[in-house]
Each structure stands twice: as C-alpha cells, then as structure tokens.
C-alpha cells in the first residue's frame, strides 16, 4: 500500500471536528488561574505549564501522525517545517512559519501568526515573569521526544511581554537512535 501523500494542515483542519476557540481559550485561562492559586511562584507555574504541555505532547503526536500520514521525517529541518505547517494548523487552526535556521540546521524559530490560547490577557504586576503560553513549548518538546528527538524549546518573543509576535526557539539536543537494544545488557 503506497504511503498516502502527507496532507496539508488546512485539509486536515477542515476535515476534523472543531470547537469554538473561546471554549479553548477560557478553559486554558482556568488552568493558568488554578496554577497561580496552587503554586503562587510564577516560575513554578511556568515549569508546571511546560510539564503539562509535555504530557499533552507525548499523546498528541500519535494523533498528528495518524491524521497527517506523515512518513518518517528525513531530518530535523523537515520535522520543524511539518510541525509549523501541519501541526499548528491541524490542532489550533493557526499558521506558523519556520525561520532563523542556524548553520548546521539543528536550531530554528517557529513564529505564530495567531495564538488561540490568548484573548484579552494582560499580565498584572504580580505575574511579570509568567510565560502564559508555556504549555506550547512543552507540547513540542513532548511530541518530538516520542519520535526520538530530544529538544529544548524556549520563548524568544512573547506578545504579552511587549514583543510583536509569538516566537519559539526549537533546538535539537540529541537524535536518539531507537534500534531495539536486543543485546541482553539490561
């Protein structure tokens, strides 16, 4: 069975069941509020949001693969392109682009045109260090780890902190070969 051609983000987004973005935005707002009450320390909230994103990423990747017919990505460059072009559109209905590749193609930026996590968020003085959308960095890190790519994902630009766009840096740390260690060493 010849592998079906990978489908574009738009095609998948149009074909999947969708919900009003406001339900998503308001629910995410409820999560951040809960964390701020439970953890108080803004740095702790950033960590917890990233961890929650990671927990989502390790599950969401299978849906991404199942629905997008993406076959094994040749290299990290293609992977980042697929995440931006297909992944963000398929799940969040937003377009993202990949820029700022470094020389050896192991580090890039993903820039979001729009961000449905945020509607009328304004960081009060008590939350200055907060990375409100930190769940996104965790999702990318978790998803890539499930396809054997250890990465570090950090925010470069955040509109809530006065920048003009949302920009995530994705740095490939290690490509984990996953041959089965059948030599009985473990």
């Amino acid at each position: 069975m010849a592998p079906a051609a990978p489908r574009s983000g738009d095609a998948i987004f149009a074909s999947v069941e969708r919900v009003n973005a406001e339900l998503f935005t308001l629910t995410y707002g409820a999560i951040v509020r809960q964390l701020l009450t439970d953890l108080e320390e803004v740095e702790e909230v950033n960590k917890q949001l990233d961890q929650m994103g990671y927990n989502i990423g390790i599950r969401l990747i299978d849906e991404f693969l199942a629905k997008s017919n993406v076959s094994r990505c040749v290299d990290f460059k293609e992977t980042a392109e697929v995440i931006a072009k297909v992944g963000f559109k398929m799940f969040l209905g937003v377009t993202a682009s990949v820029t700022n590749w470094d020389a050896d193609g192991t580090c890039c930026s993903i820039v979001l045109e729009d961000n449905p996590l945020v509607d009328f968020v304004e960081l009060p003085d008590t939350c200055q260090g907060l990375y409100y959308c930190n769940i996104l960095s965790g999702v990318i890190r978790g998803a890539l780890e499930m396809v054997s790519m250890k990465t570090e994902v950090t925010w470069i630009r955040d509109v809530l902190r006065g920048d003009d766009a949302y920009e995530l840096q994705v740095k490939l740390l290690k490509q984990v070969p996953e041959e089965y260690p059948y030599k009985d060493d473990e």
């Binding site: 629910t27 799940f91 969040l92």
Partner: protein
C-alpha cells in the same frame, strides 16, 4: 528578520476588538487540554468529591465571563431577570457558543419545585473519557456544572449544580444530566415578580 508573523499590533489589549466567536480550534486540541486539566487536578486531591469540586471551581470562573460576554455580544445588552429566561439562555445561547449546539433537553424536576435538568446525550467534554468503575459516580462534566453555576450565580440566580450520568435504555452510553437546584431566594423573588 522580516516582519514574519507580525500580529496586528495594539498599543494595549483594550484596543483590540471583542472576538466575534467565529474562530475555531480542533476538538482534539480541547480534548487533550481538558484531559490534562483533569489529570493535573487528580494530583492535587485525595478523593473524588474534591476532584469534582476543583473541576467545578475551574468551570465557575469561565461561567462568570461567558455570561457577561454573551449578554453583551449576542444578546444586545439585555439582562435575564426571570428564571425561565436564564435557563433558556444557558440551554441555548451558552451551549451553542461553547459546545456548538443547543443542549438536548431542558426539563423541570418532577419531585422538587426548585430543580431543573439540562441533559446531553454526548456531553462534549466527556466525548473521549471512560470513567473507571472504581470512581463510582464521578463525572468530568463537573467542569460544565461549574460553568453553569458561574453563569447562574453571576446573573443573580444562585444554585447548586451537579453533573450526573443517567443510563438510557437501549443505549450503551449513559447521558449526562446537569442538575440545577436553585436557592430559596430565587424562588421567592420569582414568586414576588409574579
């Protein structure tokens, strides 16, 4: 770096127009997020009643915002002052915006004057959720019960709102019923307003 991804810039957030509520995300995105909300709260509690209360609290604040937004945007700045008015606001306007459809049914409780039930064969938040048997009557719909309570409370109709699985004969899956039990003062005011 060309201005890729330049989001329409507003000097401050209050200049941004209210969204029309037309933007969408995939159901999967919401399902994964909601699943994580439930899993996170499981780590914060040590019994099911507390888990339900925390989900309800999370929903409550959403309800308070939904009321103001929808009455302003979709209801042309009109306030609900009567019980049936606020119930149909929840059953249709709120449900349509949040869950994309009017709720399956809105009924008055048979035994008690102060009880009403909104039922849904397939509550959106429960669509992919299989509650383990050992969690008894626990229902993730507590989040939706919280939203409903948030709407009712803010509108001046305080109530206790709970989510229940109700088996339906001939159906493998029980439906979810949101049970609304209004506070005494609401009924008295209703009587007074005649």
């Amino acid at each position: 770096m060309i201005g890729v991804g330049k989001i329409k810039q507003y000097s401050n957030v209050l200049d941004k127009p209210l969204s029309k509520g037309k933007q969408e995300v995939s159901l999967s995105a919401f399902a994964f997020l909601f699943s994580e909300l439930v899993q996170y709260n499981q780590t914060q509690v040590d019994n099911i009643a507390e888990l339900e209360r925390r989900l309800e609290d999370a929903g409550y604040a959403v309800g308070a915002r939904v009321l103001e937004l929808l009455c302003h945007r979709d209801k042309g700045n009109r306030r609900e002052t009567r019980l049936l008015g606020i119930l149909s606001f929840v059953h249709s306007t709120v449900w349509k915006v949040l869950f994309g459809k009017v709720a399956d049914s809105l009924e008055k409780g048979t035994e008690h004057e102060d009880e009403y039930m909104i039922s849904e064969k397939e509550l959106l938040v429960n669509k992919f959720i299989s509650t383990p048997k050992d969690m008894g009557t626990f229902n993730c719909g507590a989040f939706v019960a919280g939203i409903v309570r948030g709407v009712l409370d803010s509108a001046g109709f305080p109530a206790v709102v709970t989510a229940h699985f109700v088996p339906m004969e001939g159906q493998q899956r029980p439906r979810t019923t949101i049970l609304i039990k209004f506070a005494e003062e609401v009924l008295q005011r209703e009587a007074r307003l005649g």
